[in-house]
Amino acid sequence: MQNAKYKIVQPPEGYSAPGFFATSLDRVIGLARENSIWPLPFATSCCGVEFMALMGATYDLARFGAERLSFSPRQADLLMVMGTIAKKMSPVVLQVYTQMAEPRWVLAMGACASSGGIFDTYSVLQGIDRIVPVDVYVPGCPPRPEQVIQGFMKIQELVENEPLRRRYSPEYKELLESYGIK
């Protein structure tokens, strides 16, 4: 069924015979989830404009499954924080993060979201990992769209390989407690 002209997603390892294909459940769910991630573009500043370029036709993020941007956290999988987060804004980021349903991932795009960037000032939060747990950091000021795509593909790797019960494990609960997130 593999058409040589188009590259499609590879099926996971499993046992296949005429009429059925047996694999483990978390592989299948991982495969489905990684190719249909709905991001929440939390765009604050210049990185947001690079994100607009990313969603455009040249660097099309939609071909990775992120066609539907969800501005509502209830329906989003991936929180992409793009741009500087000031201390005034941090309760808003935290609230948006807590409103997202599990499983959720966070991508910090740009130097400002990763670590405060060039703004080492009294009013800028020095990295969003002070308030939410972050999965992937994409440095750059602003990062080129190709870099963001690489970050997105790393998120896809994380999503693909995530065990089903990870969000209920004691390590994850400990991680959330260390941030004070219920």
Partner: protein, 417 residues
């Protein structure tokens, strides 16, 4: 209430009687206002600022604004940095047209030092600034389209922005936050690859503009949504400190490029489009016409680009070429002094303004002779005209409020600085 009986009249009063903790005044229930939080993160506010709207049904009664969600203390940072390191800061103010901010800052320092730039540098600056202005206006107009439901032109615009990013990459190496130019000129001349790119851009744009205008200008739905929406009179606009396309849409033909020409803008003839009502449709049309004028400016400057050096003689700020640093003594000393920050400027203060994408972008620089400014104040046009937003939307419906916001072109980086 008895079981099985439902009285339709007096229902609410009975409910109130049941729970005496709620007290209402006699006519309270006739007028109920809704409070709606058009919060910091919202798909339609392109940038993070908060508006708490008080609505009567769908009409906006009052709006309370909160900004500062991206306050990065630029003015305080600028007191710490040497003059040439402030250029990347100015990038991030109006990040849709960052070369204008950069060049404006460099011109301010050149004004303080008393440096006059050559024609070639001026024309190169004009080309770059007008390219930035085109991208800014193009983005703003397509975003007005997105907010009124017309999503397609936004994607066309992003494609053209990619082409302009390619031109920026050839000139300075970066796409969006360009950090372009030096005090005294440019760091490198236009490479041979820049000329066909600019020529190609100039050849493609008229056709794209024609398609763009065909979608919007005489479109019945768009006109119904934008005419008489968010209107402001010229006197109120002047009192509110409006400048740029928003003021020109209200009828005042103030353009910094014409009033106090800088960088040889007075060598060129260009029109300043002016609207009549100051509503959203006029702001849209003024921006579209300014794109045409900018294209003409670029074409004229490009065709008449004189030959010459691409940097002026400002040894205290302009890094000497590497060959000279390795062979000549003064160049080595200047290189050391500039990089280690042992240079000074004349004591004094200067105010210089350029016509940014949103209006008069001003830089008020007070220097005490040291390596960094004593005080640097940015006159940010977005900050000033956003104050008028509650007045613009009063009496309109919620969807008009969204369109007015996107037609004002409020950019969060410039709002908060």
């Amino acid at each position: 209430m008895e079981q099985g009986k439902i009285k339709m009249t007096g229902f609410l009063e009975d409910k109130m009687a049941e729970s005496p903790n709620i007290t209402t005044q006699p006519n309270d229930l006739d007028k109920l206002y809704t409070t709606l939080n058009l919060g910091p993160t919202h798909p339609a506010t392109h940038g993070i600022f908060q508006n708490i709207l008080t609505l009567d049904g769908e009409r906006v009664i009052h709006a309370e604004q909160t900004i500062g969600y991206i306050h990065r203390a630029f003015e305080k940072i600028a007191e710490r940095r040497p003059y040439y390191q402030i250029t990347p800061l100015t990038d991030r103010m109006n990040y849709c047209s960052s070369p204008i901010n950069n060049i404006g800052w460099q011109m301010t320092v050149e004004k303080l030092l008393g440096v006059k730039t050559s024609k070639r540098i001026d024309y190169m600056r004009i080309i770059i600034m007008e390219l930035a202005r085109i991208t800014d206006h193009f983005l703003c107009t397509s975003v007005i389209g997105v907010d009124s439901g017309a999503f397609t032109p936004f994607l066309w615009v992003m494609q053209e922005r990619e082409k302009v990013y390619e031109i920026y990459e050839e000139i300075c190496g970066a796409r969006l936050t360009t950090n372009l130019g030096r005090i005294g000129g440019f760091e490198r001349d236009f490479t041979p690859a820049v000329y066909p790119k600019i020529r190609g851009f100039l050849d493609r744009m008229p056709k794209l503009m024609k398609e763009f205008e065909k979608l919007f200008m005489r479109n019945r739905i768009f006109m119904d949504r934008t005419i008489n929406v968010g209107a402001i009179s010229a006197e109120r606009a002047l009192s509110y400190g409006f400048t740029g396309p928003n003021l020109r849409a209200a009828g005042v033909d103030y353009d910094v490029r014409v009033t106090s020409p800088y960088s040889s803008y007075d060598d060129f003839n260009f029109l300043v489009p002016v609207g009549t009502n100051g509503d959203t449709y006029d702001r849209f049309c003024v921006r579209v016409e300014e794109i045409h004028q900018s294209l003409n400016l670029i074409r004229n400057a490009f065709d008449n680009l004189p030959a010459g050096k691409y940097y002026m003689d400002v040894p205290e700020f302009y890094l000497p070429p590497k060959q000279e640093v390795y062979s000549k003594m003064e160049a080595l000393i200047w290189h050391f002094k500039i990089v280690m920050g042992e240079i000074g400027v004349p004591v004094g203060e200067v105010y210089h303004s350029v016509e940014g994408g949103n209006g008069e972008l001003g830089f008020y620089l007070v220097s005490d002779g040291g390596r960094s400014p004593y005080r640097l104040h940015f006159r940010r046009p977005c900050f000033l005209y956003y104050q008028a937003y509650p007045e613009l939307i009063r009496g309109g419906v919620l969807s008009d409020a969204i369109l007015t916001l996107s037609s004002l072109n409020v950019i969060a980086g410039e709002l908060d600085a």
